[in-house]
Amino acid sequence: MTMLVYTLTIFALLLCCGSVVAALLNRAGDSRRAFDAAWVVAVLLFVADWVLAQAPPFGNMRHVLAFFPLVMVPAAHYLRRFRGLELTSWLAAASALALVGALCMPLQATWRQMPALQSPWFAPHVIAYVVSYGLMTVAALLTLASFRREEKLAEAGEVVRLSLPFMTFGLWSGALWADAAWGGYWAWDIKEAWSLLTWCIYLIYLHVERYSAFASWRRPLLLLGFAAVVVTFLVVNLLPRIESMHSYAQ
């Protein structure tokens, strides 16, 4: 089963990379097909993780990183159909980054869901954050691309507007959950503080986005927001000297 998990992760990663390469070769149809195939593999990976963990597989960083392609593919379809944005390859690139991260994490096959995590808020909270962080990664990649092609900055803004409600839900649903589980909706835990900081940075971006006087702020704010995402998601969890009420996510 362990080999199967690694094989599926590598297979999904190759398909995501294939999607990016196909887009670079101007073969948009192939790019979409490869990304859709990656989604199928990610579903199999999710099922395998669930069987191994005997619980919804959101118990560690590898589980969460391996879940990224599962939400990025529907997001790519949504952006293309309802927002008119063809960002499949960008979402595939973000998924590939997450899968590389998943491969670097140790495979903790068994996972016992501790009592605090046995809540109806658990899955929606984690999934909302995965969607949000994945889309913010895409926004950051588009921001970097906008240094060469200006129009990518507007696309990044569109992706942020799609992503922010997920981040908002993740942040405040976590507070609602904490109110039931920890007896208080806010404890100034380091993960909470960084999540709030990340949210505030994207709020600043949304406030200045429409004003030409602040045009030069957009790129720095989007990159700063993504840096905060990385710290919130990875650094706070992986730095061994940090004590957090969210330490079960390590």
Binding site: W172, L197, L239
Partner: protein, 352 residues
Amino acid sequence: MTTLLKAGLMALGAACVLLLAGAFPLLGAPEVYRSGAVLLLGAISVLLCLWGGWRLATGLRGQLICGLVFLFFTITGLNMLFLYGAKALEYAAIGGAMWAGFVGMGCVALTGVVFMAVFGFLCYRVMNKRILWLAGAHWAVALLGIGAFVDAAYEVRVPVTLPADGKTELTELFLDDGRHLPLGFRLRVDGFTVQHYDDATYTIYSFENGRPGAAQPVERRGDTLHLGAESWPVSLLKSAPGMPHPFLMLPGTPTRVLMQQPGTVRDYCARLVAFTDHRGRPETHTAELRVNSPFACKDWRFSLSSYREQNGQVEVLMQARRAPGRFAALCGMVGIIICTAAWCWWRKEEVA
């Protein structure tokens, strides 16, 4: 660009700086969050949000207020559906006489659906402009801030340890500053249960001349325990008074004891009994307190934090909390979630 927006940006920037000061992974100073600077910034932010929401809804303020009231009732309906629907399902699963409860709870849940449908439709019709949702998001932040301020000033949060002996009663809380705070009712823990995952481990402890020797881990295969050529059915292990876990005394010398170490904790639950009075008549409330299911009585909420065993007696660790701003803060959070989503995902500018 308006002065209001500039002020809002400055407040958000200041919030980021303060958050960074406290949350820098290794050298941060979390004390900053409880400092006067954060309280002042919070007050400024609340005022800016109230003013910002008011200005954004210029000409549509009546619509905004009605829309937010309708939104509140819609969420109330949703809440009724979930709370009473879950209770109805729980009663249906028990069956028997509980079917009457299932019908009652189910009817309340259906009332919630009607609430949702009626007020959701009204909200949808009234909040028919994107800018109204943006204004609503600002007021929701203000509501959250006001609730948080009330809590910062008046919240009482006390850790409570109560033995699960069915006798010891909690009648008052002891604050850090030495004051006693009467609860206004009596609280007792009548029972405590712990469930474990099926990942128990087994060890054989040897005793020579009454002194403990080496410990040997035992492998479990199905329903049998194996150590070398020896094997024992798991069912032979029994509990006994004074022994913390199931065990089996093995025959022969030296004396050997096969002990089961419990698996990972899956869940724990304390059975609470609260003695209150309603207009002079005594009332008894019983409830199961779990980690994600706090118990509320009068103004107090009790959350289950942990438990410990001392001298064969289980002590339940809880947190008692009285937070007058909690309801406003939670409403603000839900409002932020809904209004932000509606504003960000609104596709056409002015058509509902």
